[in-house]
Symmetry: C2
Subunit: 335 residues, 2 copies
């Protein structure tokens, strides 16, 4: 059988529940942004890990080593942010082909270090080894959070507003710019930057986790059409999403017109935005928005509502039910 | 600059101390078998991670997927054993090229699961993704141990006996059998098995960690000529090692004669034995050996002594000072 017939999640389902009997009370295994393990009376450690493979997740000649170092850590910090946790420790495994120079690796570590320093996350260990031909990077990050501040994918409630912390689709558009070798206008440069140097929403995640009105939370790595489905599956709820409410940057709107891209498709199924996707008790939204703006000088965007019913997304455009590509990003999708 | 000019440890030295200022009291970063982080008043978590790359760490056609699944976890459990810790949680990142089938992956997970089950270590998360052409596997394991039972590489004392838990060189000989396509006689089969299905010394590590007479401890992954140097560097001590005391299996002795291999070179610099290397207060050795035999029906082997002086190994054969290849295993060694 070919992996693309069952996909990444189909493969994981084949073995994930085998380990259930070794998982103790208060521990959480496969299925959320991070695994969860209690460490004392009040706190949990949360753990995430991400593998970045050359020519799959990045094209070595298109991203600078500093940017790659940043991104390798950033995508993991985003999972920590999704748990509302404080990042505490990182681990880096790197498989290095013979054509990669020490200068390249030094520059990679410069980017990795700069983001580590921002959140005071020490690199505690890892593995440095040879690889046959492609650069291979695996990062794991451990975070810490209060047991009383856990926001799992399963916590969405009927009537909740579905919210995101920022623009969607920029990163996917940036990937389009890279893959099509488009001219690096200031607009396109911004989009590529969003793809190569994502900023994990650590402080926002930690703040949102403390708010009682916030229920389910996760980060957007595959696009909301795929990621929101994880919340709906875990919470056994359905959702309405309003495409006209998706926050889309002016840069993406302009680039979409110039290049004949569908900005809604990029914003809903594009992936790698690393914004937070969360649900909020509707009656508390206004006060949440007000306090969020005070703290972060930015706003929260409402994109839909959680409904009763089996896990699926109904898409609307100005009140009219529409159908959009719901697949999100799947590494093993049939082509 | 080429990585092979400075090697794995030379590269790590270029950035490791940059992170020191973020590392808090009681935490331990790069430099031992595991990183160490306190989780409550009495206990530490310890964390290790290992990357296995196709055609560098394994040849896909030479090792069965079940064996590869076992080994991917085993090499990490061995680092946990070296800290005297109990393994608690594992994480698996796997980069899968398109030619690898679901059946292959199922078999890989069967091997991974069997070893997980033995020590009741749940797979808590990871990352499943595509890779361009080679199979890439990264495993991370978290263990737990008492703060009062830590055995770091830095804890060797003058006069300590240097000990190992089992035969050395079998794994390296097994690799020779594989690389030279030697006939799979029962003897050679045993050696290949030791290379492909190493058994981490988890129970032995946890038991040794509780003994006050045990000081420094680590696992043997690169060969004692390299690994013992880590203890000597960290403890600022020198060592005498007696080659006639190195525990060498009859299978290796016989295969060495047939194939004109040097068994002492394989046992001292071969690597991937995954036995424990530790130092013991000399006056307590006899009672330690007696109790160890009672518990494990095996014996501890003394191979040398810790001496005062700068970090170096003096090698002896029946009392006569000799010179042997001291490089151990270095992925980036100049050829």
């Amino acid at each position: 059988m070919d992996l693309k017939d069952i996909g990444e999640f189909g493969f994981i389902k084949r073995f994930a529940n085998k380990f259930d009997s070794f998982i103790k009370e208060e521990e959480l295994g496969i299925g959320d942004d991070c695994a969860v393990m209690p460490i004392n009376e009040t706190d949990n450690f949360v753990v995430t890990t991400d593998l970045l493979n050359e020519d799959i997740h990045f094209i070595k000649d298109k991203i600078s080593p500093e940017e790659l170092g940043h991104k390798s850590l950033a995508v993991n910090l985003s999972d920590i942010a999704a748990m509302g946790a404080e990042p505490k420790f990182s681990f880096l495994s790197i498989g290095i082909p013979s054509h990669v120079s020490v200068e390249y690796l030094d520059a990679f570590m410069t980017g990795f270090y700069a983001l580590s320093e921002k959140y005071k996350v020490p690199l505690m260990g890892g593995d440095t080894t040879k690889s046959a031909d492609k650069l291979t990077i695996n990062v794991a990050v451990i975070g810490q959070c209060k047991k009383t501040e856990m926001h799992l994918r399963s916590m969405a409630k009927e009537g909740d507003l579905i919210c995101v912390t920022g623009f969607l689709g920029d990163s996917a558009a940036g990937l389009n710019v890279i893959l099509n070798d488009l001219e690096l206008s200031p607009e396109n440069k911004y989009l590529v930057q969003k793809h190569h140097v994502p900023e994990p929403r650590i402080n926002e995640g930690m703040w949102l986790a403390k708010q009682k009105s916030v229920h389910a939370m996760m980060d957007i790595s595959d696009g909301i059409s795929s990621d929101l489905m994880h919340i709906l599956d875990a919470s056994a709820k359905s959702a309405h999403v309003h495409t006209e409410k998706l926050p889309i940057s002016n840069s993406l709107r302009n680039a979409a017109i110039k290049n004949n891209w569908d900005p809604v498709e990029l914003a809903s199924a594009g992936g790698e935005d690393y914004e937070l996707l969360f649900t909020v008790d509707a009656k508390n939204f206004d006060s949440l928005q007000k306090e969020y703006k005070t703290h972060f000088s930015e706003e929260i965007f409402i994109i839909g509502e959680i409904k009763q019913g089996q896990a699926e997304i109904s898409w609307f455009n100005n009140g009219k039910n529409i159908i959009i590509n719901k697949n999100g990003f799947n590494h093993f999708a049939k082509s």
